[in-house]
């Protein structure tokens, strides 16, 4: 992605594009991501696959995704910054 043509140096500031308030699901392996993607109820809430283990969730749908993952028998951990809370 052409963020900036000027190069950063090892001591300088690194050019980045920041995506704020993103909702993601990260799985242990790609197979588990496939399993989640194949779940029809989740398909509507998953925007797409960012990497083979990372799925992008539609904004505002995290609770529904958590509930559906739990229905599937998973026990997802919820990470909000420093603290880890119940899923």
């Amino acid at each position: 992605m052409p963020l900036d043509s000027s190069r950063s140096s090892t001591s300088g500031r690194l050019p980045v594009k920041m995506h704020r308030r993103v909702c993601l699901v990260q799985t242990e392996d790609a197979l588990l991501a496939e399993e989640i993607l194949a779940r029809k109820k989740l398909a509507q809430d998953i925007v797409g696959r960012l990497t083979d283990r990372v799925l992008l969730i539609r904004p505002g749908r995290v609770e529904a995704v958590l509930a559906e993952l739990q229905k599937m028998g998973h026990t997802p951990s919820l990470k909000q910054g420093e603290k880890e809370t119940r899923g």
């Binding site: 992605m1 052409p2 963020l3 900036d4 950063s8 090892t10 500031r13 690194l14 050019p15 980045v16 594009k17 920041m18 995506h19 704020r20 308030r21 993103v22 909702c23 993601l24 699901v25 990260q26 799985t27 242990e28 588990l32 989640i36 993607l37 029809k40 398909a43 509507q44 925007v47 797409g48 696959r49 960012l50 990497t51 990372v54 992008l56 969730i57 539609r58 904004p59 995290v62 995704v65 958590l66 993952l69 998973h74 026990t75 997802p76 951990s77 919820l78 990470k79 909000q80 910054g81 420093e82 880890e84 809370t85 119940r86 899923g87």
Partner: protein, 722 residues
């Protein structure tokens, strides 16, 4: 009591309350508390009042200046360790101590700035400021009037003498003195927490519970079973635990439901701290009484029991060492002195004996009192060393012997917990990761996937659980138990959900590597993408933002459609991750132009067929076009999307009749004999004719004197090759 009482410090509460006072009242109260020599602004007076509350010598002088009734009132609050009291209960206690003007004693404290009203929503939501305390008393609300005195103040009054009799009974010293271990209510609160964590209780509008939940609580075997060392029967024991759980914060109300809260922090400070907290909260219980049991959850205004509880404990405090009293004697004194029972209008049902239920059913399990059986067969009571300490009348008693190795973990995932080794900390820990099955001298628990998941969700890990079982187990934890714990823990760690992460998109993989080398708290997701669980963790000194996209905002338009209706040009600077992940689902990347910052995708029959197979619908495509291009989906896109679902088109052979002028075509379309032979009008001067109507049309045109040129008639036949 309002929620803010629990969340603010007591001095914050005082400040907030003084800010709701009218200026005149602030000056009056501060005049007695601070005794200012100058005319200070109100804000300054409030600040100095707070300073005075923290100044022990000045505070002692102010307490000493009070009339005896007020000092005794303040001392009772101090002994109770409960800063918040119902106004009526304070008045009852003052009157029971022999003072006729109970309200006067309380008003003196309010005017002296040593006691403060708990202002309900009427005061906190209105612009009206409190001008006099009589004004506050006159506003009739739906809840009990409450007052509070910060511990810094009330504790200074402890030591004031009470004119209470020593109600000792003459008896030979009993040989066996009974003292509870103090664990009973802690265990039951643990059970209550688990029950509510499994399924919340639903509140009715009047504050009670729905029938299904009333049945759940009243029929719960563990909550309602008599304690193994029970001396009396406690009515509605399950609801007593429920009421205690609410004031202890073990359960909390949210959106009309009662849900599991946090297990009290006082439990982490040991048994004495946990019991002291529960004792202080005894005086806040307003929905359960030793006579009627649970009152349906509805707060009863004029509940005399909190004041009666404290008076009973203070009466026991008057007993000389090694002397005992009995419940009947104490009850007689209470009925003769407490204004609730001395009143003539008290119903006979309210005169039923209840002191035994309180002292032996509640105070005894809380380890506040010791019990004994006299030689005559009467049950005797006296304060325990812990009871004296809780009331501020004695030093901290030595802790009971510790037995850290108190769990027997069995291969079938059962845990036997020997009660003598259970501490509040261990009860809290066990409550989180195992399910209580029986309570007794040896309690039985069960490790289950759900209970372990719950513990993991609350910060435990396989290592911490295994360590806890090792630390408290009487022998090594069986391997099958460790295997189960590991399986359950691993399962949980397979999926992580980040509800509000920040993603950093680097220009090159080298930049991401550089960020990691610098030790920044990022998690690599791909060659150029890294995740930070919380934006606050980002040190922006290391980054130059080339763009920011907030996913809490609606999707941005960043796609243009070329004329062909299937080529999509993405403006990469304005695009976001959602677009980047959405597009590959239904379009193919053609090229990316780094120089222009544009990226081209194309809709193809194959890409849309693949999307359809994955659940992508026409309506999602329409929404996407509206959000990202600002227009409806192009006809070509709709065609490709619907492709195979459209009715099959038919291929038919038609002749085209070309006429010289529009008027001729109009006439042919209007004149019925010719109109019936024309299939459709193709253009201003072109008409389509089905082959089978050709001869008929030639005849009709002949009637008009129009003759078709033969070449036009012959060619279709030639095409047919007939």
């Amino acid at each position: 009591m309002t929620e803010s009482v629990d969340t603010l410090s007591w001095l914050d509460r005082v400040e907030a309350t003084l800010n709701r006072y009218h200026e005149g009242l602030v000056r009056e109260v501060a005049g007695r508390l601070v005794k200012p020599r100058n005319h200070w602004p109100v804000e300054e007076l409030i600040a100095r009042s707070l300073e005075t509350i923290g100044n022990t010598p000045v505070l002692d002088r102010r307490v000493a200046e009070l009339p005896l009734a007020s000092r005794q009132t303040l001392a009772l609050i101090g002994h109770s360790r409960q800063p918040v009291w119902a106004l009526g209960n304070l008045i009852e206690m003052v009157m029971a101590l022999g003072h006729e003007n109970g309200l006067g004693a309380v008003l003196d404290l309010l005017n002296a700035g040593l006691l403060f009203p708990v202002l309900d929503t009427f005061w906190t939501n209105s612009k009206v400021k409190l001008a006099t305390f009589e004004h506050w008393l006159g506003v009739v609300g739906s809840t009990t009037l409450l007052v509070f005195s910060p511990p810094e103040i009330a504790q200074r009054a402890i030591g004031v003498e009470f004119d209470l009799p020593e109600l000792a009974v003459e008896t030979l010293s009993p040989t066996t003195v009974l003292e509870a271990d103090g664990a009973e209510f802690l265990l039951r609160l643990g059970v209550l927490w688990q029950r509510v964590a499994e399924s919340p209780l639903r509140r009715t509008q009047t504050g009670g519970l729905f029938k299904r939940d009333v049945d759940r609580v009243s029929q719960d075997a563990l909550l309602n079973a008599p304690p193994p060392d029970a001396l009396v029967t406690v009515p509605d024991l399950g609801f007593w635990i429920l009421s205690l759980g609410e004031v202890e914060g073990v359960i909390r109300e949210q959106d009309g439901e009662v849900r599991a809260g946090a297990l009290p922090t006082s439990w982490q400070n040991g048994l004495w701290s946990a019991l002291q907290s529960m004792t202080a909260n005894l005086f806040r219980l307003r929905v359960w009484s030793p006579i009627d049991g649970w009152r349906g959850g509805e707060e009863v205004i004029g509940n005399p029991f909190p004041s009666a509880y404290l008076l009973l404990l203070m009466l026991l405090a008057k007993l000389e060492k090694d002397r005992w009293s009995d419940c009947a004697t104490l009850e007689s004194w209470l009925h003769a002195h407490h204004p609730f029972w001395t009143g003539e209008s008290v119903r006979p049902s309210q005169r039923k004996p209840w002191v035994e239920t309180f002292l032996l059913g509640l105070a005894y399990p809380l380890r506040l009192v010791q019990a004994a059986r006299s030689l005559e067969g009467n049950t005797l009571v006296r304060l325990s060393p812990l009871g004296r300490w809780v009331l501020g009348l004695g030093g901290v008693p030595p802790l009971p012997p510790q037995f850290p190795k108190t769990l027997m973990v069995q291969p079938n995932l059962e845990i036997i917990a020997y009660r003598q080794g259970l501490t509040p900390q261990l009860i809290a820990r066990l409550t989180r990761f195992a399910s209580w099955k029986t309570l007794g001298a040896a309690c039985q628990l069960q490790l289950e996937p759900e209970t372990v998941y719950r513990a993991l969700e609350q910060g435990e890990s396989f290592d911490s659980l295994a360590r806890a079982l090792e630390q408290h187990g009487t022998r090594a934890t069986p391997q099958p138990v460790l295997d189960s714990l590991r399986t359950w823990a691993n399962k949980r760690e397979r999926i992580t959900v980040y509800p509000s992460a920040a993603l950093l998109e680097f220009t090159t993989p080298a930049d991401l590597n550089e960020a990691i080398t610098r030790g920044l708290p990022v998690v690599r997701l791909s060659e150029t993408l890294a995740l930070v669980a919380n934006e606050e963790q980002i040190d922006f000194r290391h980054f130059r933002l080339a763009g920011t996209r907030d996913y809490g905002l609606p999707p941005e338009r960043c796609v243009e459609v070329e004329e062909d209706g299937v080529t999509l040009i993405v403006d990469v600077v304005r695009s976001d991750l959602m677009l980047e992940t959405e597009l590959p689902r239904f379009a193919e990347l053609i090229d990316r132009n780094v120089a222009t910052g544009k990226r081209r995708y194309r809709l193809t029959p194959a890409s849309l067929a693949r999307a359809r197979a994955e659940g992508f619908t026409l309506s999602l495509l329409e929404t996407w076009f509206q959000q990202r291009t600002g227009d409806a989906a192009t006809p070509a896109a709709r065609l490709l999307m619907q492709g195979g679902q459209l009715p099959s088109p038919s291929l038919r052979r038609h002749l085209v009749l070309h006429v010289e002028h529009v008027e001729i075509a109009d006439g042919l379309m209007q004149w019925p004999p010719s109109r019936e032979r024309i299939a459709e009008r193709l253009g201003p001067t072109a008409l389509s004719i089905a082959e089978e109507h050709l001869n008929e049309l030639i005849l009709r045109l002949g009637e008009l004197g129009i003759r078709l040129r033969p070449d036009a008639i012959d060619s279709p036949s030639a095409d047919r090759g007939s």
